[in-house]
């Protein structure tokens, strides 16, 4: 990808994702309707390179878990807390979600609720 030199080239490089990038966890999504244009992740904490990135299908499943209304509001609590609350209320949330959350426990994209840009959550 040849680009003209920019001032921002001297800034530290973030990891760039390819065009087949999974939707969902990016803050810019709310502004950009066309997801294909978004390339760079805007998270403040870059992921540790030793961890394998979570499966895009997994992130999609977690996002769908966030948006399902049966389990209550999703903002302000971690996904694991929301799963356990749903379990205690007898709403029978799907088991694979919990396994995935525990497996990727130290990955902030997986554990934390889906944060919208501008909202503290």
């Amino acid at each position: 990808m040849e680009q003209p030199r920019r001032i921002t080239d001297s800034f530290p490089r973030r990891r760039r994702r390819g065009p087949g990038r999974p939707p969902g966890r990016l803050k810019k999504d709310k502004k950009d309707k066309d997801k294909a244009q978004v390339k760079v992740k805007e998270r403040d904490c870059p992921r540790a390179p030793s961890q394998p990135p979570p499966d895009p299908a997994l992130l999609e499943m977690l996002r769908r878990f966030d948006l399902s209304w049966e389990y209550g509001p999703c903002t302000g609590i971690t996904r694991l807390q929301r799963w356990e609350r749903a379990q205690e209320l007898g709403l029978s949330p799907p088991g694979p979600i919990r396994d995935a959350l525990l497996e990727h426990r130290d990955n902030p994209d997986v554990t934390y609720r889906w944060v919208w840009e501008g909202m503290g959550g």
Partner: protein, 461 residues
């Protein structure tokens, strides 16, 4: 009762002192266990919104309400969510109530510059004939009309309504029901007379010291230093004292010092410091003799939101040396000698009083028990901690004694439920105004007021 046992021995006061003064050992505590763990907050995080508490309230109370709806309107009644409603179909919907009140104080209206409104002064009641009721479930809301008393109900109640949706989009209610009394607890109360003294609103630190004599009389009666042998032997049957909030008076809350410059207020002490010292001395006298449970109230130095956390023991250095002093939360739940007590310092009842047409504190207390929730108006108009996992104010078991503090008068009622519940409802009056405390007899769940007053220069009778 208390005074009948005490009266015959009054002649003993005129007799010469005996060589061996009689001693009355206090009845031992049979059993005590504190059940207010749900109200104790450990780490507090305020980064959540209040949507969670409403969601868990509805999810937690929905099964019970659906059972009640089926038993009331037939087991084949259609239970629908608002999104599944069809016009004209008779069905039952379970949801949270919201009352849209025009006079409800709204911070957004106050700070809105385009209105240029002076913030409205606090009113005794904020209800108006134009208020509307709206039912909300997880996804939608619908306006209610029909056989439902709009003035009486408050926001945050979970209820089931039976009726049909009209063509104009409103729901015509034919009947409604609440969660009703929670399941009863087994009774293993004492077999002999044992009393618990309930008092609230001691109001220390107020400008006038008239209530101090009454407070000292109260302490003297409980510790057995007042009266003849009859009164002392009756006082020995008091197993516990519960102080239900507002130990400090509202005067200690003055905020004048905040608006003044710092150099003017350097030497002034907060009014509550002196009041807490007085409280410590009074509690010291009580604790040497009887177990005391101290609940915080609206004007006490603890957090504002419900559930209020216990007062810190370093405020009461003299009294907290004794193990008989227990600093507890508001609301407070405990098993005393086999009898389950549940009570608050009155903020929940007075908040419902402000937003409902119900005038009687005892009626509101009974209504909260029948609605299955201690404080439905929290967090709408009453400050509340943003719970997310479960709502601790939902009543899951029926207490034997249900009290609220800081009521204007003393009232009590024994409520009998259909499943064998027996609840004694007590509204504990404000001691600084009425000088009245309550004695609850644990053996037969009866309640008696006890008034302490001295003859002052301006006493009326």
């Amino acid at each position: 009762m208390f005074s009948e046992q005490a009266a015959p021995t009054a002649q003993g006061l005129l007799a010469p002192p005996s060589v061996e003064p009689p001693t009355f050992p206090r009845v031992p505590v049979l059993g005590y266990s504190d059940c207010s763990q749900p109200f104790q907050l450990g780490e507090r995080s305020f980064s959540r919104q209040y949507a969670h508490i409403y969601a868990v309230r509805l999810a937690g109370m929905r099964p019970g309400l659906e059972r009640r709806a089926r038993s009331r309107w037939g087991s084949d009644v259609a239970l629908r969510k608002l999104s599944e409603l069809q016009a004209g179909e008779k069905c039952c919907v379970v949801g949270t109530l919201f009352k849209a009140m025009q006079l409800q104080p709204s911070i957004l209206q106050e700070i809105s510059e385009e209105h240029n409104l002076v913030p409205q002064p606090p009113l005794p009641k904020y209800i108006q004939p134009s208020d509307e009721l709206i039912l909300e479930d997880e996804l939608q809301r619908i306006k209610l009309e029909g056989a439902i008393d709009v003035q009486r109900l408050v926001t945050g109640t979970i209820l089931a309504v039976y009726g049909a949706e009209q063509d104009d989009g409103r729901f015509l209610v034919e009947d409604h029901c609440f969660a009703d009394l929670p399941p009863p607890l087994p009774w293993n109360g004492p077999s002999s007379d044992r009393f618990v003294l309930l008092a609230s609103g001691l109001g220390l630190g107020s400008v006038s010291g008239e209530a101090l004599l009454s407070t000292q009389l109260l302490v003297d009666v409980v510790t057995g230093q007042l009266g003849a042998e009859g009164e002392q032997s009756c006082a020995a049957q008091i197993t516990r004292v519960i102080l239900a909030g507002n130990l400090l008076s509202q005067n200690t809350q003055s905020r004048d010092t905040i608006n003044k410059a710092k150099y003017l207020t350097k030497k002034t002490q907060a009014a509550s410091v002196e009041a807490v010292k007085m409280l410590d001395e009074i509690l010291l006298q009580l604790c040497t003799s009887v177990p005391v449970d101290v609940m915080p109230g609206e004007f006490d130095p603890t957090n504002y939101t419900l559930p209020q956390q216990p007062l810190h023991r370093c405020m009461l250095p003299l009294a907290s040396a004794y193990a008989t002093l227990r600093l507890v939360t508001n609301p407070y739940q405990a098993n005393l000698d086999g009898v389950r007590f549940l009570g608050t310092s009155g903020q929940n009842i007075s908040d419902i009083f402000k937003y409902s047409s119900m005038d009687d504190y005892l009626e509101i207390l009974e209504w909260t028990l029948l609605a299955g929730h201690i404080s439905p108006t929290a967090p709408d108009t009453l400050g509340c901690y943003p719970f997310y996992k479960s709502d601790p104010f939902i009543l899951t078991e029926c207490p034997h004694v249900y009290f609220c503090g800081n009521a204007p008068h003393f009232q009590s009622k024994l409520l009998q439920g259909k499943e064998g519940q027996r609840v004694l409802l007590v509204t504990v009056p404000d001691f600084s105004a009425t000088q009245t405390a309550c004695l609850v007899n644990l053996r037969d769940l009866t309640c008696q007021p006890i008034t302490f007053s001295g003859f002052g220069a301006d006493s009326e009778d």
